[in-house]
């Protein structure tokens, strides 16, 4: 059983919803990421999503776009991101880590080499935003062969046939994008998400995460009753941008925000 499957099984038994915070690796600088990952776990994260910076993150909003720019200014590469996961694993062998990024840096690294290196570093899932299953990249198969779960997005505009196809290719969990837009956008409609997730659940037994537009504890709490996992990205990255220049305060502020999300979500499920 993969670390992701194990974690979701645990949570299901405990009647809890996974909190999945996202940070961009290398933001604000390379040395900040591993301490941030530990702080996120301590504050109540169940799964970590680590963004691999890309120069042209088309599906991301301005907050994560700028985080990528900060990370790239320090020359953060995919190899650096894998080194961060490896270092994180020295102290934490239980929290699943999912890489989220774009296809081009993976291909530049070498698809096969990437699958091997992620497994070696202790990565559990890989979400390649701009690689739909139709493109038949060998990546998903290579990852599965190494025990890494290929994670895919589902959108409000995904039709029934593609929903089926994506769910067949995916492993670990599927990630439902709650709105039409980019990461960090507003206007999340919880009732609509609930209706859509019922459709998704008919297509797959995989846990269903939701994200894109979860900005505060209130929204996270509302979604806790609906989804198996709640992904929070831009709202955390916003705080990294705000406090990035003072390390101690950065860790305190991000930790406090994630604790607040955790408490709100747990309270909602009681």
């Amino acid at each position: 059983m993969s670390r992701l499957a194990e974690r979701f099984a645990e949570l299901r038994r405990a009647g809890r919803t996974a909190l999945v915070p996202y940070i961009t690796a290398g933001d604000p600088d390379k040395s900040a990421s591993v301490p941030l990952m530990h702080v996120l776990v301590k504050a109540g994260a169940d799964v970590l999503e680590l963004g691999v910076p890309f120069s042209d993150p088309m599906a991301d909003g301005p907050v994560i776009q700028r985080a990528c720019e900060r990370a790239l200014r320090h020359g953060t590469t995919l190899a650096d991101v894998l080194a961060m996961v490896r270092e994180f694993r020295h102290k934490d062998t239980r929290t699943p880590v999912v890489l989220m990024g774009y296809l081009n840096p993976v291909e530049a690294f070498g698809t096969e080499a990437f699958a091997a290196a992620t497994a070696e570093a202790g990565v559990d899932g890989v979400l390649t935003v701009d690689m739909p299953p139709e493109e038949a990249s060998p990546l998903a198969g290579l990852l599965r062969a190494r025990g890494i779960d290929p994670v895919f997005l589902l959108a409000p505009t995904t039709d029934a046939a593609r929903l089926q196809r994506i769910c067949e290719t995916a492993a670990g969990f599927v990630y439902y994008v709650t709105l039409k837009g980019v990461t960090g956008a507003a206007n999340l409609d919880v009732a609509e998400v609930r209706r859509r997730l019922e459709v998704v659940r008919r297509a797959t037994r995989l846990p269903v995460g939701v994200g894109f537009g979860v900005r505060d504890a209130r929204t996270a709490a509302q979604l806790a009753g609906v989804a198996d996992a709640v992904v929070v990205g831009s709202a955390i990255v916003d705080r990294v941008a705000q406090f990035g220049h003072r390390r101690a305060e950065l860790l305190t502020q991000v930790g406090a925000f994630v604790s607040e999300l955790r408490q709100a979500m747990d309270a909602a499920r009681v």
Partner: protein, 410 residues
């Protein structure tokens, strides 16, 4: 002993039957977009499949190409330039005479007519030099669409006149401050707008790149350039040209010219922006100096660093200043059907002056790249041969750049 049967043109597989159903040109093209964009892209594909065969759509398109754009554009024999080069006769396909001053309007018009049928009310576009932005703003005014154009902050500064033209036409021009603040970043922003406003909005991509069906659709809307050239060459010279030359940034004017000739015995040359020379690293020659990768929804040749991050590019011509290229060009390069080469900033400027002085035609700096290459090519071809250069745009927009290279402050 039996002789091997020679393949003739009629038995050869046509090179014009691409892409496949999923938008692949050999290994290139495709639909590499986030799941949030798959729905909109599929909706567009279905609409285009329907209307490209629709007689009423084609009638309206042809009428506006004639009465609004001014097609067909002339095929002009550049006699004094030919005499200067001492070789093959040089013809110019005069896309600079199209309404708004460049070929871009052919495609903007086609996409606007499609948007109308898809009941969209808002057009968005990305632009580098501003020519595609002006073309989109123009068709938006023509049909009464709301219009938003994304343009890199850096490009807005370089192309202030085109920014004002777009505003006069009623478009809102949004400065893009992310990344390198140029064309590629404007494309990212336009994609973000599209995914958030897909119910009302049609994204008018300005070149033969992006997710399927864009590379095919934009090519089809520009294919009139080559079809006209074919007819015009047959009527004036009684035969097809020996060679065609076009500049390649994203590659829309080149594909537009080449497409009708892909199955013929005609040499095809695509000219990329060599900037300050390939060795300097300051160029925009993705086919000549890049490698295969994935950006902006398609697999193609890209300029990128060792870690797969997209590189900043340089060209004196803002319209060629793009780190990728249309996937059909990537395929045509690999199969060897088109020869791709580069021309530097300095060579393009020389060609700009040569055409202006010898023919009284001021070319866009983009088109000056094709011209510079043709001027190198012609002397190596016998005088009974002839070649066609796609003069894809006029040079008025570039006079500030030309002046500043001469040390003149306007």
């Amino acid at each position: 002993m039996s002789r091997p049967i020679e393949k003739t043109a009629s038995f050869r597989e046509s090179l014009r039957r691409v892409p496949d159903a999923n938008g692949h040109f050999g290994a290139y093209g495709g639909r590499f977009v986030a799941e949030t964009l798959m729905g909109p892209v599929e909706e567009l594909r279905l609409a285009y499949e329907k209307y490209r065969r629709d007689a009423e759509f084609q009638t309206e398109l042809q009428r506006d190409l004639r009465d609004f754009v001014g097609r067909p554009s002339p095929l002009y024999l550049a006699q004094r330039l030919t005499a200067e080069c001492r070789g093959a006769r040089i013809y110019l396909k005069r896309e600079d005479l199209d309404h708004t001053g460049a070929h871009k309007i052919n495609n903007a018009l086609g996409q606007a007519l499609l948007a109308k049928r898809m009941r969209k009310t808002r057009l968005i576009a990305e632009t580098g030099a501003g020519q595609h932005g002006v073309a989109t703003a123009t068709v938006a005014a023509r049909f009464g669409f709301e219009c938003v154009v994304y343009m890199g902050e850096e490009d807005m500064r370089r192309q202030a006149i085109n920014v004002y033209r777009m505003k006069l036409l009623g478009a809102r021009v949004v400065p893009v401050t992310s990344g390198s603040r140029t064309l590629k970043d404007a494309l990212n922003e336009a994609m973000r707008d599209w995914v958030a406003n897909v119910d009302s909005t049609f994204y008018v991509i300005g070149t033969v790149a992006g997710p399927h069906p864009y590379p095919m659709m934009v090519r089809d809307f520009h294919a009139c350039i080559g079809e006209e050239t074919r007819r015009q060459a047959l009527s004036t010279e009684g035969r097809l040209p020996d060679a065609l030359v076009a500049c390649v940034g994203g590659g829309s004017n080149a594909i537009g010219l080449f497409h009708a000739f892909l199955d013929d015995d005609v040499k095809l040359y695509g000219v990329e922006a060599g900037g300050e020379g390939l060795a300097s690293g300051k160029h925009a020659a993705s086919l000549s100096a890049g490698r295969s990768g994935v950006l902006h929804g398609n697999r193609t040749y890209l300029l990128e660093d060792a870690a797969g991050q997209i590189r900043e590019t340089h060209s004196i011509s803002a319209g060629l200043d793009y780190p990728g290229v249309g996937p059909e060009h990537a395929w045509l390069k690999d199969i060897g059907r088109v020869s791709y080469d580069t021309v530097t900033d300095v060579q393009a400027l020389q060609a700009f002056h040569a055409l202006t002085r010898h023919e009284g035609i001021m070319p866009a700096l983009e088109s000056a790249h094709a011209l510079a290459y043709a001027m190198q090519l012609a002397p190596h071809m016998p005088p009974q041969q002839f070649l066609v250069v796609n003069l894809s745009g006029r040079g008025d927009k570039d006079i500030h750049t030309v002046a500043s290279h001469q040390g003149i402050e306007l």
